[in-house]
Every structure is written in structure tokens, then in C-alpha cells.
Symmetry: C2
Subunit: 361 residues, 2 copies
């Protein structure tokens, strides 16, 4: 822990709500994206295998979860929480599924560039599209910020909400992670699926509260996490209402940021979209700090948990809190580790607390 | 229907999201607000009395509701809707409860002025607060727009989200409607409570989608409609995250409009907060038109309904569609009436379709 403490990273968003650091980190680590058909319904597998938290080692982390749920649901407990108030929020990238080497949504944006240029051929020789089309990863990583913003605006806005959802759905079904050569949707953490199920079985409403795009995550959240669109809070842009030539209404996604759902924005998003304070919150990086603070500041039973990526063999290991190299994707600074100890948030060690990480493993 | 057709009123919102026309209309009709303790749990009464749509006359409106629910829930129907997709949205003011002579929230804002000035005595002799304190209703109604905005900003923003909710809760428990001398929460429409219950009994999620303030409506929606905060979509402002001297976090309501949840804004709000297209939508004025269009444009079973206030004796009668004087509060222009006929939306006549209007009647 001898490194410089950075309590909080500055937020730095483009107009359409994508974190610039995320994008840069993504570009710097750009993987070759192969695409092929097929996806494993990890959720169904988790259901079939059953068992409450069966992928968790017995230990402090598992104990914290079961103790909390017991206190929250035991009518004789001083910490009892009425079912209507049982709200649990989960960060997505790095908490529910793999975020390294790069956020899935960043890969989506880069993958969309060729199709986008095919529709507008005049862009083929225009930067930054020319560089992205070149496939030269080093050159892509060197693109200046205003060029990167053009990629985000071009691939995440300007289309109807339905056209975007259809494209994202198509991509998530075929895109594969460069390390495991499997759909991203296979790379959800089996122990966290068990937590989601355990909470729901105890009358909690489970929400995703993600820095990622709300419209993007909603496309697959129901299928892989059992979390419906109305329970996905994410970075969100404005939309515009219009009519087609037959008078049928549509919404167009606009390059206007409504909610930057990261850091304090996560609390603002929870207030805006849920309107209740969560009783439990799970995260894995500096962007989740305020959500855990807000959750912990409520009365009765509370649970705050942070996942530490310390398992290079089975997943990844990164972050100063694990005495590992810092990472721009999912930073877990020492200050957050110290705050967790003071705030009685529980650290989940991926290496020590999880028997297995993926359903397919 | 011989009057001039106005298809849509211009939206005209102050920064903190309150419709200027609404406010003006409210001020012009300013009632004497008496405050006394006591409220009738209308919802509980509705439950106790039971019966599916028992306050509805047999007729086209009731038939439209039951036909829709039957088609949506019958697995053998071509219009079957999976339970997860069963979303029904309801405007609030004038659709679920009384909106005349003035929106309850406008009364709240004016009622808050004395307490607000007590905290900041230097405002007592400053306009517009001096005029509001004078109680001179005609002078209040003549206040220019920039003065009215000051009232809204002063009473709806600047406090913590928790302080606002506590104040609004206190008010809604004691404020009384000038005509019935009962709490506003008694003035919910019994037939609509039955619709909410009927829908929920058939696995629909019921949402409020209101031009009113989201934070305001969330205070009482669960108690009087059985609709939890996370299912209230309304006009919403930004918030700011901060810490008190003990390090406890809080959110401050800011005079920054995030969502103007009226007209097309209702569709934008539905996309932002629900992320699914509703199958059924209920409204009563021009501000609900786009929500009904959006709902009707989906596949399978659809229901669009508009409540016509044509019962001066038991409630109010207003709007050109009822061949009655136009009203700035809850305008139902002839063009909307014509569109309803073309779009197969069903008009609910308060006078002819409802056996009774209030649970206490």
C-alpha cells in the first residue's frame, strides 16, 4: 500500500455519457474481437445447479451476505426490513461480469464503425473512422479525445431506440471475449448470480446500477441476470420523439447526457430511477464508493461489499488494493480499501472467496 | 365542437420542471387552503369493498378494459402478452385524482412560502414572497412569470431530498381540498383504484407517469394508489451529492430540469425509467397524447383510454371535447377527441361510466 493514495478519480465524460478514461483504457488494451454464433445461458445453468451461494467458500464474505439477509428478513430482528424496502444494487462491469481487458460496450462501439461507415461511405477517409477501419490498434489508442467522442456519438446516438437495441442484441449474441473465446454473456460471475438469486428469493428487488449505457445493458440484463429493463439504472442520454411517414412514433437517441451514472452519479441515478435508498450495494471500484456510502447511511440492516480482482489465473488481478498494478479499467485505489475497513464494507477476494468464477468452469 | 381546434399546447416549463400554464392556472383559481388533521385511507376502503370494477357502469368503457385484460392474459389469444411485458401507465392529475380547481402540488408550493420566509426573514418584503404572504389571491394571480419561478425554485429546490419528502408528507396529511374539505388523498377516483387493482391482479406492473413532480408524487403514491416510488415517473430535477459535518452523505435538490414529463416528455420518461413500451395507458388531457400514441404503436393487445370530465355535479366539467368551457388545468382539446376516435382509444365519461367517483361518496 506504499503507492500514492488517490481518493477519487475525476469524472470525465463525453457528451453521450461514456467515460473518457474507460474509452482510453479500452482502446489501449484493444483486443482482437472475433465474432461467431452461440451463447450459453449462464443463468439457466445457475438455476439448474441450485444451492444457496454454493460457489462461495465458507468465510467472512459469504457470512456477511447470509448474516445480512437473515437480519433483514427476520421479523424479530431490530434490523428487519419490510419487503417493499428491500432494494439491492449491483454495479455491473467488474462486479457481475468481466470488465478486462476492456469494457464490452467499448468493444461494441469500435465494432460498429465498419457498418456505420458502410451506411455513410463518405466517412471512410475521414478521421477517426479511417484509423478505426485500419485495424491498427496502436494508432487507435493514440486517437485524440475529440476523435474518440466522434466514435461514441456515431455509434451510440442518432438511431432510433429500437434500431439501437436490435444492433446491440445482435452483437451481444455473437461477439466473443478475446481470452476465453466465449460470448461476453458467458463471463458473468457464477457466485454473483447466486447472490442475485438468493436476494430475490428473500423478496429483494435487484437492480443494476452501472456506469455503462443504460440502453446497452438493458438489452441483455434480463436474459443473463434475470434483471428486467426497468431495474437497470445506467448512464443515460436524452431522446427525441418523432413520427415516421406513416405517423408511427419513434424515439431517436440524442447526443445529450442526462445521467452520468458513475461516482456520485450512481446515487443521483438511484434517487431518480428508484426513489428509495438501497439496503445492500455491491461494487468493485472507485466509481462505486458513493453508492456504498449512500447505502450504508440508511437505518436498519445494511450491506456494502467490494469485489477485489486478485485472481490472475482464473480471471484478472489488478488494483493497488491488491498490491497489484493500477488499472484504468475498474480502479480500486488504496483509499477505497481503507474506507471499506472503516465503513465495515466487506471485501470479497475473488481468489479466496469464490470456489469457481464462471458457470462453464 | 365549434371552437377553434388546438392540437397541442406549447410546453412552457420553469427550470425546476413545473409547467407555467399549470402554475398560472393554479394561481388564477387559487383556493383558500384550510389545513386540519386526518385522512381517509381510500385504498384500504377500496380493498375492503372488493369487486372487479364494481364502481363502473356496464358499457363500452368497462368492456374495453375487461376485453383488453382478457386478450392480454389469455395464452390462446393472438394478443397474449407475457407477464414481464405487462406495463400499464397512468397519468395522475385528472386521471387518478382531482386536478381542479388547481393541481395539489401548486397549492403545496404556495403553502410552503410562509415557512420558507420564516427561515429567511429577509425575504418577507421581497417580491414575490411579499405578495404571496399578503394572501391577496388576485395579486398572486397577476405575478409575472419570473416571480412565479422564484416561488417554485424556493419551495421545490435547495433542500435535501429527505427534508423535501418530510415536508411534502406532512402537507399531504393535513392539507384539504377547498370544495370537499377533505384531504387531497381522499379525492382519488374509486373506479380508477379498481382499475389499478384489476391490472395488478392480472400481473400488470402499474406505473404513474405524471407531469407533476416525481419527488412529490412518490411521497404518497404507495399509500393511496399502491404504487411504489420506483414506479412513479414524473417531472424530475437534478440532485447534488454532498456530506454533512459528520461525513453522512445527502442529496440536495437542484433547480435543474432533467425530465419534463409531459407531452413527448412522457414517452421520454417511459424510455428512461421503464425501458419497455406500455401495453395500456390512461390519461385525460393533451399532455397524455404522446403516451397513448406510443402505447398504441406496439404489437399485440393495446389499450388507450382518456377520461372526460363531464360531471359538474359530482366532480367537475371542463374541456371543449365535452362541449364545455376550455380549462387550463387538464385541457382536452377537440383534436385529441378526434384522434382518440381514429386511434380507437376509449373515452371514459365520468358522468355515464362511473357509478360513483369517490370511495367516501
Amino acid at each position: 500500500m506504499g503507492r500514492q493514495m488517490t481518493n477519487e478519480l475525476p469524472t470525465d465524460r463525453t457528451e453521450d455519457g461514456v467515460d473518457r478514461r474507460r474509452l482510453l483504457a479500452g482502446l489501449a488494451l484493444l483486443p482482437a474481437i472475433s465474432a461467431a454464433l452461440g451463447s450459453t445461458p449462464a443463468m439457466a445453468q445457475a438455476n439448474a445447479e441450485g444451492g444457496v451461494l454454493s460457489s462461495w467458500q465458507d468465510g467472512a464474505a459469504k457470512q456477511a451476505i447470509t448474516d445480512f439477509v437473515r437480519a433483514a428478513t427476520d421479523r424479530s430482528s431490530a434490523s428487519y426490513i419490510a419487503p417493499a424496502e428491500r432494494i439491492a444494487t449491483f454495479d455491473q462491469d467488474g462486479t457481475l461480469w468481466v470488465e478486462h481487458p476492456v469494457y464490452a460496450q467499448v468493444v461494441y462501439c469500435l465494432d460498429r464503425v465498419p457498418a456505420m461507415v458502410a451506411e455513410k461511405p463518405e466517412l471512410a477517409n475521414v478521421e477517426p473512422f479511417e484509423t478505426v477501419l485500419s485495424g491498427d490498434h496502436e494508432a487507435i489508442a493514440r486517437l485524440p479525445m475529440h476523435d474518440l467522442e466522434k466514435i461514441l456519438v456515431a455509434t451510440l446516438t442518432g438511431m432510433t431506440s429500437e434500431a439501437f437495441a436490435a444492433e446491440a442484441k445482435k452483437w451481444i449474441e455473437i461477439a466473443k471475449h478475446p481470452r476465453w473465446k466465449r460470448p461476453y454473456t458467458d463471463l458473468v460471475y457464477q457466485p454473483m448470480l447466486e447472490v442475485l438469486q438468493y436476494f430475490r428469493a428473500n423478496d429483494f428487488k435487484t437492480y443494476i446500477v452501472t456506469g455503462g449505457g443504460q440502453d446497452f445493458v438493458r438489452v441483455y440484463a434480463e436474459k443473463i441476470y434475470g434483471i428486467p429493463p426497468e431495474q437497470v439504472v445506467g448512464t443515460a442520454g436524452g431522446t427525441k420523439y418523432g413520427y415516421d411517414k406513416d405517423g408511427k412514433p419513434f424515439l431517436t437517441k440524442e447526443p445529450k447526457l442526462l445521467l452520468n451514472d458513475d461516482h456520485a452519479g450512481k446515487v443521483q441515478g438511484i434517487h431518480l430511477m428508484i426513489g428509495r435508498r438501497p439496503c445492500a450495494a455491491f461494487g468493485n471500484s472507485a466509481g462505486d464508493r458513493e453508492m456504498l456510502e449512500w447505502t450504508s447511511a440508511g437505518p436498519d440492516a445494511r450491506l456494502g461489499m467490494l469485489l477485489l480482482h486478485d485472481d490472475a489465473e482464473r480471471e484478472y488481478a489488478y488494483g493497488p488494493a491488491a498490491d497489484l498494478p493500477d488499472s484504468k479499467v475498474g480502479t480500486f485505489p488504496p483509499a477505497l480499501y481503507d474506507q471499506a475497513k472503516k465503513s465495515k464494507w466487506t471485501i470479497i477476494s475473488m481468489k479466496n472467496d469464490w470456489k469457481r468464477i464462471f458457470a462453464f468452469a
